[in-house]
Structures are given as C-alpha cells and as structure tokens.
Symmetry: C2
Subunit: 143 residues, 2 copies
C-alpha cells in the first residue's frame, strides 16, 4: 500500500503521514524499488491509535513515549494510566483557570454596559478595561 492509499484510509494527508514518521510516532516503512513507501496493515492500526490518543489529549511527544515504553518493556498500561491521570489533573486545573477568566471577562462586560461612553477618560484607551486593576491575573496563558 502506498502513502496515498494509507492516507485516504486513515483520513489524513500524505504530508501528515510523512510528518508522523519524522515525529517518531510511525515507524519507517519498507520501500518499493522505486523508493516509494510501502505500508502494511499495521501502519493503519498505528495511525488509528495515534488519532485515538490525540483525541484523548495526548501530544505527539507523549504518544511517541508511550510507543517507546511499549517497545522497551511491554504493555505500557501503567504508563498510559499515569499519563491520563496527569492529563485529567491538568484539565481540571485549566478548566478552573478558564472559569475564573470567564468570570472576569463577564464582570468587565457588565461594567461596559453600565458605563457612560461620554465619560471616557482621554488618557486611557478605554475605561471599560481598568489599567490599574490590582486584581489583574498574570496574562492567562491558554497553553
């Protein structure tokens, strides 16, 4: 199977598959005499795993690590469980951050409705956003 067929079956582009190879989540396949990549069914299984793992929020680096663990020491279930635990905790933290940010934004928005535009101060850009807000969080990175 050549790369185009594999791409179609996996619902990806050939570009992405080559990228996955360089990213180390897909092993280098055999080559046909022409130099074309020659895939077998396991490549498709691998790509499906990668997609599922991505859907679970794992990065390609983490997926590569899971694969490496499996290759070195067998079923990586424990490792995967730990990764998932960490991700769940990260998500909880991020959800809390975003909820706090959302409340701040909502407050500012309500404030905007109650303020009189004509009383806008010329020195600030916009008095809806208080430049001297001491409660300002550090820029809420959304990594």
């Amino acid at each position: 199977m050549r790369i185009g067929e594999l791409a179609t079956k996996a619902g990806l582009t050939a570009k992405t598959i080559r990228f996955y190879e360089t990213a180390g989540v897909l092993p280098e396949p055999e080559r046909q005499p022409s130099g074309y990549r020659d895939y077998n069914g396991s490549a498709l299984a691998r790509l499906r795993f990668v997609k599922a793992a991505q859907a679970a929020g794992l990065t390609l680096a983490e997926i590569r690590q899971v694969i490496a663990v499996r290759d070195l020491s067998g079923p990586p279930c424990r490792h995967v469980a730990d990764l998932l635990d960490t991700h769940a905790a990260d998500l909880d933290r991020r959800i809390a951050e975003l909820a706090a940010l959302r409340d701040d934004v909502q407050r500012l928005r309500d404030r905007a409705k109650s303020l009189d535009p004509s009383r806008c101060d010329d020195t600030a850009v916009c008095h809806v956003i208080p430049a001297d807000d001491p409660a300002a969080h550090p820029p809420a990175r959304i990594p």
Copy 2:
C-alpha cells in the same frame, strides 16, 4: 524616560516593549539625539492598559484593534464590549470542550485500572486507548 526605566516601571523587559512597538500596541516614541527611545508617562499608561487587556484574555491583535478603533472613532466601549462578549462565549465553549475531554480521559483512566495488562493485544500499541473508538472526537486542540 528611556526604555529600561519604562520596562522596570511596567514590570516588563525592554525586549518586550520593543516587541509591542512592532506589534502595533505601543506607538513609536520620540528619539533622543543619541537614537535612544524617549518615553513619556502616556507610554506607561498604555502598557498598563495592554497588560490589563491581556489579563482579560485579549490577544495583542485584538488590543491593537481596540486602540485603532479608539483612534478612529472615539471611545471604543461598544467594540470592547462586543469583544468581551465574544471572548466570554469562546471561553464557555472551550470550558465545555475541556470538560468533555476530561470526562473521556477519566473514563479511559478508569478503564486502564480495570484491564488486565497481560491480555494486551500485540497488534495495538496499548489496549487502554481503543484505536477504533467511534466516539473519538477530533483531536481536541487546546489553542
């Protein structure tokens, strides 16, 4: 006031201030005969606004837009309110996505605990993550 002093007062680095200038959120200041940037107090007010707006989740591009609106048509309160509305809605959507993702991860994690590692299938990388999951969401980008 030279850039270092402004940076200290604003709690930023000189690099960042130059970057803000090229990003269009800080106007180009006068120059001293030496070529050094020469800031007045309004630059500090502007930087405080930028920080507050960032804390409210606005990107530099949006902040630049708010400033442009103000320069063109006066107090941008309505525009800012719209932006904040949009951001609050975005945040709500993102929080819902992350909550759904978190539930999925949690489910996988619980599954990992209940599975028998010795029954790991050799064809898949790890049976904790089901490669044929039909409910798999598209990779949950966390931009």
